[in-house]
């Protein structure tokens, strides 16, 4: 099944901002690209409202933890980004489909739950 939940309002902006916010290539996309296009320097981001798990703005004095999903997800497609290998460890395919199963390769290794590290621990 697919767990990626694309938000129509955030997808386009997520592409734009995400491309500019990429780790190291500033918009290469597709798993990499070269480092030739400089990424924006620190400070180019706008000030963003800190939000809790219910999406409510957090006020000074609050004891509620902030929510990265609610804070960053207004502009960035968190689910699309969190489908990357560092997050999923092979739990999902490139398309975001959960692919876990015991003995992933069908070769008598029941501890392999995916084509990545997911399931090996």
């Amino acid at each position: 099944m697919t767990i990626r939940r694309l938000r129509s309002r955030s997808w386009a902006m997520g592409c734009l901002v995400g491309a500019a916010f990429a780790t190291g290539c500033g918009g290469g996309g597709g798993g990499g690209g070269g480092p030739d296009v400089p990424a924006p320097a620190t400070g180019d981001h706008t000030a963003i409202v800190l939000r809790d798990r219910l999406g409510q703005p957090i006020a000074l004095g609050s004891k509620e933890p902030y929510s990265p999903r609610e804070t960053c997800g207004g502009c960035h497609d968190v689910d699309a980004m969190a489908n990357a290998y560092h997050f999923q460890q092979g739990r999902t395919t490139a398309a975001g489909t959960i692919q876990t199963k015991s003995d992933f390769y069908g070769d008598n290794r029941p501890w392999l739950g995916s084509d990545g590290m997911y399931g090996k621990w």
Binding site: M1, I3, G14, C15, A19, A20, F21, A22, T23, G24, C25, G26, G27, G28, G29, G31, G32, G33, G34, P35, A39, T42, G43, A47, L50, R53, L54, A59, L60, S62, K63, E64, P65, S67, P68, R69, H76, V78, M81, A82, N83, A84, Y85, F87, Q89, R91, T92, A94, I98, T100, D107, N108, R109, P110, W111, G113, D115, M117, Y118, W121
Partner: protein, 583 residues
């Protein structure tokens, strides 16, 4: 890891809840820390419902669910995973993209705080005793947004910390200028707090475990890695252009990423890791250094493979050198920092780690030498970026463990057999976390180990006993160690066979690629500035004496039946194509 669906508690190993708390410190949240294997959020604070409830299930239906149960790794006790108390660990954007990281005495405090909150699990409280959702609060703790955090002092040194209490407060962020206060007292994250490109400390916080412990890697040291030094201008004559460690983004020079956040990587030798993304966007040695590479980095020293090229680069011009050898073979000639060499899970069910310093030395031909300032890697064939198999240097981690051998009803045919690791909580249920009475110290190092046939037989008998749920720990327990499978011979004794060639997919040797800590030509294998030159590898050039590369001693078994470590030479382990061997 525990399967999603389990018939009994005895089948459950580490569950999603356990993994998030205990292993989540080195994973950036999201994915298995947030959603179950049906794609449902484990617990939704907005609705107050567990993910399984959206599928019409009740708590009683998920008692043995690998996503909603937890089995204690201490005693095997089963409980419902309290996701409602911990919350979930969302993808932690700022964990990597925070610009101003807190590094205290070399310690990455952002990582430590996050790890502590996760490991606090459902026992985490504030100083008033009120509950704090340890998983959901981890991202907040990682930013240092708390007024107080108390760590469990009983956690052994070297283990990730565990918080016992956490008082969330955003005032430290305001004081540091990371958070801006609006007139209505709501908070905004300051632009200067966000780094588009993660700094090396963002990577190193997690990778320090697999890199340092498993590979003996060093970072932030210009003398031990030519790339760290070069990218940060630390080797030129101008100190004013030096990039400090806290601002270094050297990792992303070779491991860039795009909007999809798939950080470019090579090809792992440890099984598979989304192999469809191997080398995608990755900047390899050959990309940047080969003269004719379309991706050549103009600042990288050029490698000229043409005959008649520069004298100092002659090794690159020798026929087949670059066809057979990765750049790493010569330019990562040794390691200086100790790494994990052996994990013995068999003797006690615990996971004691033995270092390279115990089994290797600065003399690659004599592992017993007392000089431990260096150790030398093994080599393994690996598919390179261009699809060519080349030798790469490896630190091979050896493990000893107990498995359940299922012969699949065909005792004459090993190829369809299965040897599944026995969860350690079940092994410890037999050993009580200590060597069984009857195990001896055959190595003479003050620590007992299971290695003799009598000891192995003793353990096999014990492991046929029941676990706390009345289920036999194993029906046919076998010891996997040193590339061999030791088993009951059916006549009261112990027999063994070699894994290699058996057809059984199991392993006790795990190759961790050396990869980093690249040294310049002057320090590489075969350097003419060095003592040996070509003779470092080529026996025909050193009077037919053992060479430091192909005759170096590689540990293959930490202790044989006589208690002595077993070594093989690279020559014995690595087969070169016929007619192309260096001897």
């Amino acid at each position: 890891m525990a399967a999603k669906d389990n018939a009994r508690a005895s089948d459950i190993d580490k569950t999603s809840f356990w993994w998030t708390g205990m292993c989540g410190a080195c994973h950036p949240g999201g994915g298995p820390s947030e959603f179950d294997r049906d794609g449902r959020k484990y617990f939704d604070v907005a609705t107050g419902k567990f993910g399984y409830e959206s599928l019409g299930k009740a708590a009683a239906d998920v008692l043995l669910d690998g996503d909603y149960a937890e089995v204690s790794n201490v005693n095997g006790a089963l409980r419902a995973a309290p996701w409602d108390k911990t919350g979930v660990a969302e993808a932690d954007c700022l964990f990597c993209h925070r610009a101003d990281r807190t590094v205290t005495s070399g310690k990455n405090m952002n990582w430590i705080w996050r790890a502590a909150s996760l490991r606090g699990k459902d026992a985490l409280v504030d100083s008033g005793g009120g509950p704090v959702p340890g998983y959901a609060a981890a991202a907040t703790a990682a930013q240092g947004w708390f007024s107080a955090i108390a760590l469990n002092p009983s956690v052994p040194a070297g283990q990730p910390p565990q918080a016992t209490s956490l008082d969330i407060s955003y005032q430290p962020g305001v004081d540091a200028g990371t958070l801006l206060v609006e007139p209505d007292q709501t908070l905004r994250l300051a632009p200067t707090a966000i780094s588009a490109v993660p700094t090396d400390y963002a990577c190193w916080g997690c990778h320090i475990t697999p890199e340092v412990r498993k590979r003996g890697r060093v970072w932030f040291d210009a003398t031990k890695d030519v790339h760290y030094a070069g990218f940060n201008r630390l080797r030129d004559a101008d100190p004013s252009n030096d990039v400090p460690a806290t601002a270094s983004t050297a990792c992303t020079r070779c491991h860039p990423s795009g909007a999809d956040h798939n950080i470019a990587k090579g090809n792992t030798t440890l099984g598979t890791a989304r192999d469809d993304t191997d080398f995608a966007g990755f900047r390899t040695c050959r990309d940047c250094h080969l003269r004719d590479s379309p991706l050549r980095d103009p600042e990288a020293p050029v490698v000229d493979t043409r005959p008649g090229g520069e004298e100092r680069l002659r090794a690159h011009q020798v026929v087949r050198h670059l066809d057979l050898l990765s750049c790493d073979v010569c330019h990562i000639p040794f390691k200086t920092d100790p790494a994990d060499m052996v994990i013995d899970m068999a003797t006690t069910g615990q996971t004691p780690i033995l270092s390279t310093q115990k089994f290797l030395s600065a003399d690659p031909l004599d592992p017993t030498a007392t000089d431990k300032t260096r150790w030398y890697p093994s080599f393994t064939w690996k598919k390179d970026q261009d699809g060519v198999l080349r030798l790469f240097p490896m630190k091979v981690l050896l493990t000893a463990w107990w498995g359940e051998w299922d012969r699949n009803g065909t005792p004459a045919d090993l190829s369809d057999d299965r040897i599944a690791p026995i969860p350690l909580w079940r092994v410890r249920g037999v050993t009580a976390g200590a060597p069984l009475a009857g195990a001896a110290d055959d190595t003479g190092d003050g620590t007992k180990e299971v290695n003799t046939p009598a000891e192995i037989a003793l353990y096999i008998a014990a492991l046929r006993g029941n676990d706390r749920y009345g289920v036999p720990v194993a029906l046919n327990p076998v010891l996997v160690k040193g590339g061999k499978v030791y088993h009951d011979d059916g006549a009261g004794g112990v027999a063994h066979f070699e894994v290699e060639g058996s057809g059984i997919k199991t392993e006790s040797a795990h190759p961790f690629a050396a990869d980093h800590n690249v040294l310049p030509a002057s320090e590489a294998l075969g350097s003419f500035a060095g003592a040996a030159g070509c003779a470092e590898c080529h026996k025909t050039m050193n009077g037919n004496q053992p060479t430091r590369v192909f005759d170096r001693k590689i540990l293959v078994d930490p202790w044989g039946e006589d208690g002595k470590p077993v070594y093989k030479t690279v020559r014995e382990l690595v087969l070169l194509p016929r007619g192309l061997d260096p001897w």
